[in-house]
Symmetry: C2
Subunit: 260 residues, 2 copies
Amino acid sequence: MRITIIGSGNVATHLAAAFKNAGHRIVQVYSRDAQHAALLAYHVKAEPVSDLTQIDPETDLFVISIKDDAIGPVAEQLASYNKLMVHTSGATHMYALQAYAENVGVFYPLQTFSKTREIDFRDVPLCIEAANADIAKELTELAQTISNNVYTVDSAQRKILHLAAVFACNFPNYLYNIAQQLLAQHDLDFNLIRPLILETAEKAMTSLPGNVQTGPAVRNDQTTMDNHLALLQNQPDLQQLYTLLSQGIIKMDIDPPADK
Amino acid sequence: MRITIIGSGNVATHLAAAFKNAGHRIVQVYSRDAQHAALLAYHVKAEPVSDLTQIDPETDLFVISIKDDAIGPVAEQLASYNKLMVHTSGATHMYALQAYAENVGVFYPLQTFSKTREIDFRDVPLCIEAANADIAKELTELAQTISNNVYTVDSAQRKILHLAAVFACNFPNYLYNIAQQLLAQHDLDFNLIRPLILETAEKAMTSLPGNVQTGPAVRNDQTTMDNHLALLQNQPDLQQLYTLLSQGIIKMDIDPPADK
């Protein structure tokens, strides 16, 4: 397939590379920033453009992977080419494209991407939505060329997925950061706790998290929780967070495993 | 070394197996529950006992791996044997043993254990504390027979580690549970989000979490956060948690990577 990548951020970068590796042709890479466009275009052997008027109409698909609030305006400009257009945003309704064109869909990779970290795209869940059945078939076939985990997810479900991803990724990472800061404050090495972080995530690969919850809160071990709150006495924000999370765990409707 | 295991929970089970695999002899396994004692004792070819009066004095080390509030009373009963005693608790001071004996230490494996999940003990950080330098040497040598990650950590530091472990393990698992529940409420498969959970943890293996924070809060993307809060309108506890975690991320003193 001939694919034009609109955007040069983390998602655009990883998607473009995955398409290229699967044998598709990346026609152009567009970014407002000419240097960013040039860098990604170089990697995927495409033409860099930094002005939407330079878009080559000889393409099959526009993949719009830019900031959420820019999706609509860019789609409006691209609509005149009458090509299939998708966006890659978890938080944006397909209407953002349908307002301007009929041949549209969504191609949402549910993963956290860093430019500096390699990722095996075959493991990345790809969530597809399409304006009609023909487009759904085309996007699903395209998705299957780069991922083994292709799902059909409508806009309402995708909003929930995006929210769930915040709880599953952004918030845990913030808690890792708190742990790292606590250790650093007491001259302790973050490596001490890294295996615990990984094992906790790996447990969730084969178990439902509610079935493997451990810690003082799920045991309702008030003494340990009080000791922890005392250690945080100079950090009221963390005390509040500790209390709220612990209360949530205490209220969990589960039969916890023995923790000791 | 001849080792007696006091306890039959997750930590006792994994430690006993690791010691046995490293060539040590497990003399006895004690548990108040005779069946639990028998099961673990069978696995490590030891004698099961369910009464502390049946303890065999021909041992080199008592490993006390039981509920925190039972450590002191059991240590008091074992003190008469005049053997080296350690506890395995993150939240308990070494004084809990020193109150009754001089030959004491702490042997704290910083990992989350489930009886049903295999773990490579060589990767588990072992935190050692000892009442004197000779014991420190002996415990460190013992620890090195089962783990490649042996640290010397005093009681004050261990309290911080235990607190940090709650933020790095128990709380993230609870957030995974929230994500899973949100998906289930909308007929979405938890498998959709599992790769994201794992990748987030794997990023923390090589990066500091503060350097790889992503999501709407670190971009201060108020529109997306408001949309998420609206999705949680019938779940005020989750709204409160979402707000508190997002406020913490917004206040993070970091230079976030581009998220798109």
